[in-house]
Amino acid sequence: MNEWNSETALEILPAMWQGFLVVLQVTLVAGIIAVVLGLLVAVGQRVGPPWLGRGLSGVFQFVRNTPLLVQVLFVWTATSLYINPEWSAFAVGSAVLGVHYASYTSETYRAGIEAIPVGQWEAATALSLPAHRVWGAIVLPQMMRRSTAAVANWIIAMFKEVPTLFAIGVLEMIAQAQKYQGQHYDGAVEGYTIAGILFLAASYPVAVAARRLENRLAKSHY
């Protein structure tokens, strides 16, 4: 029962693959939230009134300093009890994961914006460029070059945290392995091993690609 069994592994593989697809879907949804919300917050902190910047900073400081698992369980419970019990674990879990990682990506973006030389802002002012061009044509392209590799690393880290959503019943890989084990009293070693291999197989190439992107951006013309 505690030793590797190839037949069990083959039997559990389809369910694990289903779980892996769920992990990818969560990563996609949460990743979009993390990338877009993080950017909005970083820009909002720069262009918004001071109270907004302080408020966003305080909220995200709180998010970064509390465990993801606690946030997932709290939001899942709160939404089920007080907002809408019909909301799926997938939707709630993806949103929490996305907001959690937006608190990190926003800091990366903020650092990228602050690293832009003051002369760039002054040149844009001297040319009276409208705000949407200052941000869209000058600041964000330069910030993205500095931030993209770091944000990609946050998304990889987030991808590896998707199993946290097992706690609220999202049928990702760990939940699939547990489900199989509950039904067959077997398959834990095979299930967790396959999960580890699939995580590695997916995250390693992405990490290598992120590294290459970082190197390529470092050699770009700006």
Partner: protein, 281 residues
């Protein structure tokens, strides 16, 4: 408090024939406790080329940055009575008219008011993510509302003028410092400014690249009637190009006059010391 708008009071004793294009009327500027400009008044006539000289920290660059609205004047309580206002082409730049009062300008007013002013910076400040051509067209299209074709034609003409027509598709990082500064000059000229501010435009360049940039600026001075305010340590250039030189120290004008007067026969000991130090470098 009522600050009835009045015509700017005469600031300099020179008595310009034409209405001044730039007027500093008792302008204050402090950074915290540090007073950089102290009730500074001067006029610049249309088409005049004025060089500001003086030691570091004397307020020269601050004057250009105030004109470019990168810094803001330290407000006075009653601008009509106490001054503290910068005027450009007879209209307040640092302030705006509200009812019959002058109040500190908001961003909207500044954005409109500074369109007639261009600036070339010491460190070029080209946009590194844009090719040379787009550096020169970007603001033409998005600030002045020119069509892309019109902006490109103007940009190519100016890049040709500064000797860089072969570099339109390069990124700034692929150019030397002197070439980057010439692109920056083309970028500023593309906006058809009435006033051009040159802030130590050769200070960041290797000595062998200085001549090209100064050559381009001499051409601009010779072929246009743009009013220029120049901060430079290139005394030869200042002597050739300027109509007037103003010597600053601690935020006040120590001495001003024609370049020959100032460089050959300065009256003030402070000017003599400064020129001795600069020319000995």
């Amino acid at each position: 408090m009522q600050n009835p708008i009045t015509e700017p009071s005469p600031a300099a004793e020179r008595g310009p024939a034409a209405a001044p294009i730039v007027r500093f009327d008792r302008v204050h500027k402090s950074f915290g406790d540090l007073k950089v400009l102290d009730r500074l008044s001067f006029d610049v006539d249309p088409g005049e080329r004025v060089t500001l000289i003086g030691p570091s920290g004397s307020g020269k660059t601050t004057i250009l940055r105030l004109l470019m609205t990168l810094e803001h004047v330290t407000p006075t309580k009653d601008p009509a009575a106490e001054g503290g206002v910068i005027w450009v082409e007879g209209k307040p730049l640092s302030h705006m008219e509200k009812g019959n009062r002058l109040v500190v300008a908001n961003e909207r007013h500044l954005r409109q008011a500074r369109k007639k002013i261009g600036m070339v910076f010491q460190s070029f400040n080209l946009f590194p993510n844009m090719r040379v051509l787009r550096n020169v067209t970007e603001a033409q299209v998005h600030t002045l509302g020119r069509s892309k074709d019109e902006a490109e034609a103007k940009a190519r003409e100016l890049l040709d003028l500064v000797g860089l027509s072969a570099k339109v598709d390069n990124y700034p990082s692929q150019l030397s410092g002197g070439q980057q500064q010439r692109v920056a000059i083309a970028r500023a000229l593309a906006m058809d400014p009435d006033i051009l501010l040159l802030d130590e435009v050769t200070s960041a360049l290797d000595p062998e690249l200085v001549a090209d940039v100064l050559g381009v600026l001499r051409d601009v001075a010779d072929t246009t009637s743009i009013t220029m305010l120049i901060v430079t340590h290139e005394m030869g250039f200042a002597r050739d190009v300027s109509n007037r030189v103003m010597m600053f120290d601690r935020g006040v004008i120590v001495e001003e006059g024609a370049p020959d007067e100032i460089f050959s026969d300065p009256r003030e000991a402070r000017t003599q010391d400064f020129l001795r130090a600069v020319l000995a470098e």
